[in-house]
């Protein structure tokens, strides 16, 4: 666990909070503000989702309008992700807090007849950013331009130019990319993005599917270097920052009723201590579950929320 004093010196690099559970913790604040972050992962690892949440949270929680640039293959994904998470994209678009720009690139339709550059792309992005004062932008997946244009040397030069341009625009950007086989990313985008690189991994180990995130690079900032498990659930993306489970909480003297008046009486008349772990041990049929259930029930009756995890019995 990092020493809290060291953190103060890291304030120089401004961060853009993502609002994504656990992530801002392991990065001590979020993504590098005004810089470009690269999120790399195989298909289905949640790159688009992470980026979408960054944008939507930016609007809803941090008052930063955003632009989502969706290249051909992600139009459907975007619609699916946002629908399942309940993001009301159309509302945000109507309120001029969000612009979704679909850039469709189909090599068959593009006839190259000589030299060109990608000024049109810059104009479109600039137009979108300026029209709503966007502070966040997603390019998902920028790699799609490689499949659209055949002149790689032109593309790479333009990418360099694009990233410099984005930084000058002062927007915090996320670029997504697929994992490559021989190279880190399929088209080597990591060469151009050096501020922050995050890898998402989805593997099946001994028939159990696990997702892991790792911050490969984060220039100028402390960050957790481990692999962190993450989940994609109904609320979207969330990371479990396991190394931050430190013993830095306060112990309380508050008590909570066991739900059984006579048992409370045996415990100073008050019950268990709040925030403690109680082990109930006994052979089968002695009433362990009943004791636990009564405790849960009494909490619910008081209007408190209770999480009851059962391993051995069906809900009935």
């Amino acid at each position: 666990m990092q020493n809290k004093d060291n953190l103060k010196t890291e304030e120089i690099l401004e961060k853009s909070p993502t609002g994504i559970g656990g992530f801002d913790q392991i990065t001590y604040g979020g993504l590098p503000k005004g810089r470009i972050s690269l999120i790399v992962g195989g298909p289905g690892t949640g790159k688009t989702l992470f980026a979408t949440q960054f944008l939507i949270n930016g609007i809803n929680k941090f008052k930063e309008p955003g632009v989502f640039v969706a290249f051909e293959e992600t139009r459907k994904k975007l619609a699916q992700n946002t629908a399942s998470l309940g993001f009301r994209l159309n509302n945000l678009i109507d309120q001029r807090k969000l612009i979704v720009d679909y850039i469709y690139i189909e090599r068959k339709e593009i006839e190259e007849t000589g030299e060109y550059d990608l000024d049109g792309l810059f104009v479109r992005l600039g137009y979108a950013i300026d029209s709503i004062g966007a502070k966040r932008i997603i390019l998902d997946t920028l790699e799609a331009i490689f499949s659209g244009f055949s002149q790689e040397s032109i593309l790479r030069a333009e990418l360099r130019r694009l990233f410099r341009w984005l930084e000058e625009k002062g927007v915090t950007a996320i670029v997504t990319a697929e994992r490559g086989y021989e190279t880190f990313t399929k088209y080597g985008l990591e060469e151009y993005i050096s501020d922050c690189v995050i890898v998402l991994d989805h593997r099946v180990t001994e028939q159990v599917s696990t997702r892991r995130m790792r911050i490969v690079k984060y220039r100028g900032s402390l960050h957790g270097t481990n692999e962190y498990p993450y989940l994609i659930g109904e609320d979207g993306f969330s990371i479990l920052p396991i190394t931050s489970v430190a013993l830095d909480y306060h112990s309380t003297k508050d008590r909570i009723s066991t739900g059984i008046p006579r048992l409370d009486a045996m415990l100073d008349g008050k019950g268990y201590y709040r925030g403690t772990s109680i082990l109930v041990s006994g052979t089968a049929g002695t009433g362990k579950s009943s004791l636990a259930l009564t405790f849960a029930d009494s909490a619910c009756k008081r209007g408190e929320k209770c999480l009851y995890i059962t391993f051995e019995e069906s809900p009935d």
Partner: protein, 91 residues
């Protein structure tokens, strides 16, 4: 296709650069050589970002044949004359 039909083209450029002029000249010459009438509308993407977005223009220069249909999109300065002619559909 009517021989007397006037062809309409949109040429998207980024300001008045030598490349823009070159592309325009190439385009004009292609049509002169094939003795086809054409109407070229030059659009500066900086002055007209709306048209840029509307026509989904990414690469510059881009030439779009609006008429006759179907729409054809060419990118580049049209220095590859043979290819340009074929794709535009002029002889």
């Amino acid at each position: 296709m009517e021989a007397s039909q006037v062809w309409e083209l949109d040429l998207f450029v980024a300001d008045q650069t030598p490349k823009a002029k070159l592309t325009y000249d190439n385009l004009k010459r292609l049509f002169q050589e094939s003795k086809t009438d054409c109407k070229i509308r030059v659009i500066d993407i900086y002055k007209n970002p709306e048209a840029t977005v509307e026509n989904e223009v990414m690469a510059i220069p881009t030439t779009i044949r609006k008429s006759p249909l179907p729409r054809v999109t060419l990118i580049g300065d049209l220095s590859d004359t043979a290819r340009a002619k074929t794709k535009l559909g002029i002889k």
